[in-house]
């Protein structure tokens, strides 16, 4: 018994560094942000003023906040849709045993290693009408009749950004799903073929159930990463045209570091944190694949 207690004490002792790290990196900033949400703070100004729930009331009344929330949801679910479907398709192709497949698997990693800043600046210019190569190409292939400003038009800006962001996510999703696909034994498919299963049936009843937990996991990561994406949006459209691509992280950045209203920005961050926790709990409770 004494040995057990000593071992338990040692285990707790060994956990201290990790706990400290969690407190410093996660708990302290979150609690501090939560507290700041109750103050009116102008960054750099010496005075702060306790305003109770006023910051929260203000953001609830603020149309820009609700528009940013809607944009965030559109952005997140749009990205998830692309980031789960295309990698799944590519992973199935890369799972074939054909010549040069290893080279193809290596090349798929390129978007992952290109920094977001490079993608943003290059694509911003490549997508320009008149002088951008993409418009020029689409027009010469007769796909486009008139050149369009993909990032500058209210109907195309968000879908274009979603595609750009998903292109960067592509290698991660593909490799994760490919890893799951490779765990499915060939015999399973061979048995299905003997039973006369079609390609669709093999995919629907063998592949999908067996990689379901991986898709679920990739989906969760895609959700949390996408919801908090800031760099690509800021570097390409800064939330424009108008507020069409202004998601919550962009709005929070603008509020905190462009107009220096830290209290209001903190209150917004708290609402985002709560929202993410609620969605996370829902996701884990109701969408976890059953064993």
């Amino acid at each position: 018994m004494r040995l057990y207690l000593r071992r338990e004490r040692t285990s707790y002792f060994l956990m201290i560094p990790v706990l400290l790290l969690i407190i410093v990196i996660f708990a302290y900033p979150f609690i501090r942000t939560f507290i700041l949400g109750f103050f009116k703070i102008s960054f750099g100004a010496s005075e702060t003023q306790y305003v109770g729930l006023n910051n929260f009331k203000d953001i609830i009344r603020n149309q820009t906040y609700w528009k940013a929330l809607t944009n965030s949801l559109y952005w997140t679910f749009g990205n998830i849709l692309v980031q789960l479907s295309i990698p799944l398709f590519i992973a199935i192709l890369l799972n074939k045993r054909i010549r040069g497949i290893n080279f193809a698997r290596a090349i798929i990693m390129i978007p992952w290693v290109v920094p977001a800043v490079t993608i943003a600046i290059c694509m911003r210019w490549m997508l320009l009408p008149k002088i951008g190569i993409i418009n020029e190409m689409l027009e010469s292939l007769n796909i486009l009749k008139n050149q369009i400003h993909f990032l500058g038009h209210r109907f195309t800006a968000m879908p274009t950004l979603i595609l750009l962001n998903s292109w960067k996510f592509l290698p991660f999703g593909t490799l994760m799903i490919l890893a799951a696909l490779q765990t499915i034994p060939d015999e399973t498919y061979e048995a299905a073929e003997v039973d006369g299963a079609s390609g669709y049936q093999k995919f629907r009843y063998i592949t999908l159930p067996l990689i379901g937990s991986m898709i679920w996991f990739v989906g969760f990561l895609a959700f949390s990463w996408n919801f908090n994406t800031f760099d690509l949006i800021w570097l390409t459209t800064q939330g424009g045209p108008g507020t069409i691509t202004q998601t919550l992280p962009v709005l929070i950045y603008r509020t905190a570091f462009k107009t220096f209203r830290l209290g209001e920005a903190s209150a917004m961050s708290v609402t985002v944190a709560i929202l993410l926790v609620v969605i996370g709990v829902f996701y884990f409770k109701y969408l976890t694949p059953k064993e």
């Binding site: 960054f43 750099g44 320009l128 400003h149 500058g152 424009g240 045209p241 462009k258 107009t259």
Partner: protein, 452 residues
């Protein structure tokens, strides 16, 4: 006898020792004056490109050669981070001795109670080199100067002379905004939209703020009255922004989302004939294209108005309060600032660093042969003459038109890009000019802090 000799010897010894000690003491004091204590000072600037850092280093090297006891360190903080880093450094107590800024940033640091006045330095430099009044007045508040302009920037009507001739049938740029609109239409139509008449943006960013202000300034519209009350919603603003919304019809597709890079790309690609912009692209025309097909003129007037208007950004240095605690550092910083203001040295930071982009802000620097000797300046000499005329006569900055600070909320108004958002609402068709201006007015009132 022996006693007498001993007495005299003692007197001589005491005298010699005293004299020796006095002389030694005196010499010691002199030695302190001559032998200067080594001192290191740091300053922040925001010009990240390698050639700009090199220009600053050149000035530092020349200064250090002249002042071997002073070491100067430059640190680059990107413009986008300048506000946040400066305020964070203030809270952390890690600010440099002084830093470069524009009026908005200076005002932000003033509000944070971080600045020491530099009135003595401004007066000294003004007496010596004659600072352009508009440039120094943007840093004047409550009887003190809070920044000393070192170099400046300005937007002019930049254009491609060959496009004006070929598609517009004119050899001179337009003098009024109505003529500009007509010429922009002509160029766009006559070139079958290969070349667009006018380059302005409509996105919610600083470039749109700046370009829209050029028209506002031409119309005589201001954000505030002399008491700092918001006066944005007035007929002059509406007139200026109505013209803006007409002009953007002759901008290349997608201009509603442009930033600085796109203007420069379009100018260089030959798809743009005119644009109110910083005339810094001349360097590319000289170095990359070896072409003189680039020029700049005074910003057009509104019909019936004799005054012109455009935007200028005096790049100043301000000294932080904490620097006052160490007199040696304070004096070293002031010596370095004095050094940068010498016309021949100032030319390294203006035409030597970014010809057309950075301009002198004193009469002496504007006349310095070192400034005009630059090959890019020689090629585009007229642009520089027009720039200096505009700087001396009418260039100003939104919120800083009165020769004093009238509303210290201007930094937040700029930070929130209120003017750009007004423009964006107009050009994207979300609101009429009148409604957007009324909206902008109420937004500005949220941030407004009249100085009185």
């Amino acid at each position: 006898m022996l006693k007498k000799l001993l007495f005299i010897s003692t007197i001589i010894l005491v005298f010699t020792l005293s004299a020796g000690m006095l002389m030694a003491g005196g010499k010691k004091e002199e030695a302190v004056e001559v032998e200067e204590v080594p001192v290191e000072i740091t300053f922040w600037h925001h010009e990240a490109p390698a050639h700009r850092v090199a220009a600053f280093q050149k000035v530092i090297d020349l200064f250090e050669a002249e002042n071997p006891n002073i070491t100067v360190k430059q640190e680059v903080v990107m413009w986008g981070d300048a506000w946040v880093k400066s305020l964070s450094a203030l809270e952390a107590g890690t600010l440099p001795e002084f830093q470069f800024a524009i009026p908005d940033l200076t005002l932000t640091m003033y509000k944070a109670e971080a600045l020491a006045p530099v009135t003595d330095l401004v007066n000294e430099m003004d007496a010596k080199y004659k600072i352009f009044p508009n440039q120094k007045n943007m840093y004047y508040h409550k009887g003190e100067y809070w920044g000393l302009p070192i170099f400046t920037m300005i937007m002019l009507m930049t254009y491609r002379p060959s496009f004006l001739e070929e598609y517009g049938g004119v050899s001179e740029p337009p003098d009024t905004w109505d003529e500009t609109l007509e010429l922009a239409r002509k160029i766009t139509e006559n070139s079958d939209e290969e070349v667009y008449g006018f380059g302005i943006g409509g996105a919610k960013n600083l470039m749109t703020d700046e370009q829209a202000f050029v028209l506002l300034a031409s119309a005589g519209a201001r954000f505030f009255d002399e008491d700092g009350n918001v006066t944005f919603n007035n007929p002059k603003t509406i007139k200026a922004l109505r013209m803006y919304s007409e002009l953007i019809k002759y901008a290349p597709p997608g201009a509603e989302a442009w930033s600085w890079g796109e203007i420069e790309l379009n100018f260089a690609a030959g798809t743009l004939a005119m644009s109110p912009y910083f005339p810094a692209i001349q360097k590319r025309f000289h170095e990359e294209f070896d072409s003189s097909d680039y020029a700049a003129a005074h910003v057009p007037r509104f019909k019936g108005r004799s005054e012109r208007g455009t935007i200028t950004y005096p790049n100043e240095i301000h000294i932080y309060k904490q620097t006052l605690k160490d007199n040696t550092k304070l004096e070293a910083a002031k010596d370095f600032v004095r050094f940068m203001m010498r016309p021949e040295i100032n030319a390294i930071l203006t035409s030597g660093q970014e010809p057309g982009g950075f301009l002198p802000c004193t009469e002496a620097a504007a006349e310095a042969p070192e400034y005009w000797d630059n090959p890019v300046v020689k090629r585009f000499e007229n642009i520089h003459r027009v720039s200096i005329e505009s700087l001396q006569e009418y260039a100003t900055l939104y919120g800083f038109e009165y020769g004093k600070w009238v509303n210290i909320g201007i930094g937040d108004i700029t930070g929130a890009d209120v003017l750009a958002e007004v423009v964006n609402k107009i050009v994207s068709g979300q609101m009429s000019v009148e409604d957007a201006v009324a909206w902008g007015h109420s937004e500005m009132e949220k941030y407004s802090i009249p100085a009185k």
